[in-house]
Amino acid sequence: MANEILRIEGVRKGFGGLKAVDNCSLSVPERTIVGLIGPNGAGKSTLFDLISGFIKPDAGNIIFSGKEIVGLPAYRIAGMGLIRTFQIPRALMRMTVLENMMLGSQNQLGEMILAPIIRHGRVKAEERAIEKKAEDILKFFDLLRMRDEYAGSMSGGQKKMLEMARALMANPRLLLLDEPFAGVNPALSERLIEKIKLLRKSGLTIMIIEHAIPYVLALSDELYVLNKGAILASGQPDKVISDSRVFEAYLGVGSDAQP
């Protein structure tokens, strides 16, 4: 078995009386795409918030490349190479597409307050390199022609693509994509699938939440189904999706169908 890059053990999170994530365990092997599906309110996005450190679990461990990351501030977790996107596209509306992209790059010397003044030359050179990289990635996502537009003027689908592109600027080791296909039109979605496959080939590990199941099936090496905050089923995508419990979960479980 390949090395696992992320392991979640018995994670729980409640909001008031509601158990959003309930004793959830899963593992993500390196260089794979892991899909996460489940009906509305199953706790998928909450799970992403927990992994990326935006909220703290009530119990359980989260181990990213061998290190326990529960309790670390979210920016530190991102700095370790675990980058997430958001369900509702969060482009930085009042910055240009290129600025959005360049922000994604990690460990920039120029981000230290005085460096742009005292290390002017080096920062300039660093900026040129980052800009080049940003343009390459924008080209990969067919967004290059929009590089100087304000992100706020993009369509929802384009914002989604920009978000993914921006995340790639960070050279992530694990990329958490929250509904990357939402709002993206079908033709573009097909191309996006190809691009995500290329990313896996280049060695990236990806975890995807998606409700458009055909896309998840086309991409995932392994599929987890979350229902009411707990893992309902997992394994090979085709097998998982044929599991009658999954269809039942989507259509609504009767009391008898509860395991």
Binding site: G16, G17, L18, P39, N40, G41, S155, G156, E179, A182, G183, H211, A212, I213, P214, L217, K228, I241, S242, V246, F247, E248, Y250, L251, G252, V253, G254, S255, Q258
Partner: protein, 233 residues
């Protein structure tokens, strides 16, 4: 009783619902199902004037209600239970019901006792803050709050969300009872099986559009439904 004529609506610039039509006859229970993110909740919000409508019109009892404010709709006898955050957590159960009756003139006590007849479990909790109730009790309070104006039609957004199967069953039978008292019901539901079991007719939505329509009991037998949900053949 309620008819949507090719409405198009969304929150910001993008349309979540496009060209959707739907009818509910008096006395019916109609359920709208569909996969995550197909626009079911947006549909409910659009009827209640909480989205930006960019096309089409909505008729209720023969009169156009497109673009009316929620308080005007409530006065016309249309009541809405949102999916979440549907009780005033910081207020007591009694206060929640009183707020629900704000559009009424007088007779509050009488209405409250009618709601308590429907949901007797709430009677012991009248002076408790709603936030301290269990999930099921909160849901009953939410429906009770909507019922207190004696509506002719009730809109329910995912009434079964986050309920245990047992409570869910109880809730659906209460919805049925409300319907038998003469209240027309339109609901959107995740739990298609349970909801359709008590419904007269159903609609299936996909990507902001109406895809299927039919009698509730036979709708799930349609192979299209499975495809729309899980994308398998």
């Amino acid at each position: 009783m309620l008819s949507l004529e090719s409405i198009t609506a969304g929150y910001t610039d993008e349309n979540i619902i496009t060209d959707l039509s739907l009818r509910v006859e008096e006395g019916e229970i109609v359920t709208v199902i569909g996969p995550n993110g197909c626009g079911k909740s947006t549909l409910m919000k659009s009827i209640f004037g909480l989205t930006r409508m960019r096309g089409g019109r909505i008729l209720f009892l023969g009169q156009e209600i497109t673009g009316l404010r929620p308080d005007q709709l409530v006065k016309r006898g249309l009541s809405y239970v949102p999916q979440e955050k549907n009780v005033f957590a910081a207020l007591t159960v009694r206060e929640n019901l009183e707020i629900g009756a704000i559009a009424l003139k007088g007779g509050i006590d009488e209405r409250i006792s009618l709601v308590l007849e429907l949901f007797p479990a709430l009677a012991d909790r009248m002076d408790q803050r709603a936030g301290t109730l269990s999930g099921g009790e909160q849901k009953m309070l939410a429906v009770g709050r909507a019922m207190i104006i004696n509506p002719s039609m009730l809109l329910l957004d995912e009434p079964s969300a986050a309920l245990s199967p047992k409570i869910m069953g109880q809730l659906f039978s209460e919805i049925q009872e409300i319907n038998e008292r003469g209240v027309t019901i339109l609901m959107v539901e995740q739990n298609a099986r349970r909801a359709l079991a008590i419904s007269d007719r159903g609609y299936v939505m996909e990507m902001g559009k109406n895809r299927l329509e039919g009698p509730a009991r036979s709708l799930l037998d349609n192979p299209e439904v499975c495809r729309l949900y899980l994308g398998r053949k």
